[in-house]
Amino acid sequence: MDGWWKKNPYYVEFMVHEATALFVAAYAITLLFGLIRLGQGPEAWNGWLEAMQSPLSIIFHLALLAGFVYHTFTWFKLFPLTTPPIVINGKKLEPCAIVGGGWAAAIGAAVVSFVIVWGIAA
């Protein structure tokens, strides 16, 4: 079974999906580090903010964003596999509706978060 995941594009997609979970973890650690710096006082916090604005940090964030989008896309693709049947008015929800529902929830949550952050910043 050595190298099994290289034998089929479907397995490669699965492994890339699993690997992009590390991108999610990396971003969580970045934010956690920011929180620690915030606890250490204004100077530390401003230093962290400055570091976040460096070109290297922006490249890092763009890479994370790409990983996030891929992870989200492939995550929702798996929804019809992992969710129990959802019955509405006696009819089973189609797989495309389950995937679409996931996307709608994700986009909705992103917009709400953006509006809140925008409101706080303004």
Binding site: W5, Y11, K92
Partner: protein, 250 residues
């Protein structure tokens, strides 16, 4: 008359009495556009090498016998057409993740044991006598499990599952789909008996949710969904036992 088209079919051969390990042989097969890969393999047996061994029966994707790895993908060879591969070579191998018995015939005894282990029959909730009449089921109750009755035991999902390859003891997608079919049946009361297997080391938590089993299923059973629903069921069964006065299922 149009020119006769010829395709190369590379077949993985293994003769247990003569070979140390499987090897490939290439055959040139004349074909017409209506010919399936199964018919191509049959042509080899009838005209080029009578020793080639493979399973087949119905030729119409219902018996589940003719599953093979076709260009590395588990497929029923009777519903896979040569024209879709021409002019490239087709490789045909025994189903992955099973021991090879001879050529394209795999040893299914492990799978049969798994099928038996899930108790694939109705264990009545309330046994009824003949005088009491039949078990009644509404169309809505029937609709809950109909999808999982479509399995034809072709084992393509086992060939697609990397976890079965890594751990041959994993109960696997097909048997889990059948288990789920009985658990979902309103006449059945065997859920608690089957739960032990669902939650065991060989059970559903082996699954990494690759999902390729459902992708290759020729009957759209979605066996991966049966496996994943039962992860939730096993977790519920585990945690709810702490709330149940009787201690829940065993």
């Amino acid at each position: 008359m149009p020119e006769q088209k010829i395709i190369e079919i590379e077949v993985l051969r293994y003769l247990p009495e003569a070979d140390q390990a499987p090897h490939s042989e290439v055959y040139k097969v004349p074909f017409t556009d209506d010919m399936s890969v199964l018919q191509g393999v049959q042509y080899i047996k009838d005209n080029l090498d009578g020793s080639l061994t493979f399973r087949w029966s119905c030729r119409m994707a219902i018996c589940g016998s003719c599953g093979m790895m076709i260009n590395g993908i588990p497929k029923l060879s009777c519903e896979t057409f040569i024209r879709d591969y021409y002019p490239k070579r087709i490789t045909v191998e025994a189903l992955a993740n099973f021991p090879i018995e001879k050529d394209l015939v795999v040893d299914l005894s492990g799978f049969i044991e798994k099928l038996e282990s899930i108790q694939p029959y109705i264990i009545p909730k309330e046994p009824r006598t003949v005088e009491q009449g039949e078990y009644i089921q509404t169309p809505a109750q029937f609709a809950e499990y109909i999808q999982f009755t479509s399995c034809i035991n072709c084992t393509l999902c086992y060939a697609a599952c990397p976890q079965v390859g890594l751990d041959p003891d994993f109960i696997g997608p097909g048997a889990m789909a059948l288990l789920h079919r009985y658990n979902m049946d309103s006449r059945d009361g065997g859920q608690a008996q089957r739960m032990e297997l669902v939650a065991s080391v060989e059970g559903v938590y082996n699954c990494g949710a690759v999902g390729y089993c459902s992708e290759v299923c020729p009957k759209k059973v979605n066996p991966g969904n049966a496996v994943n629903i039962n992860k939730i069921n096993a977790a519920k069964d585990y945690f709810l036992r702490f709330l149940s006065p009787k201690g829940g299922a065993k």
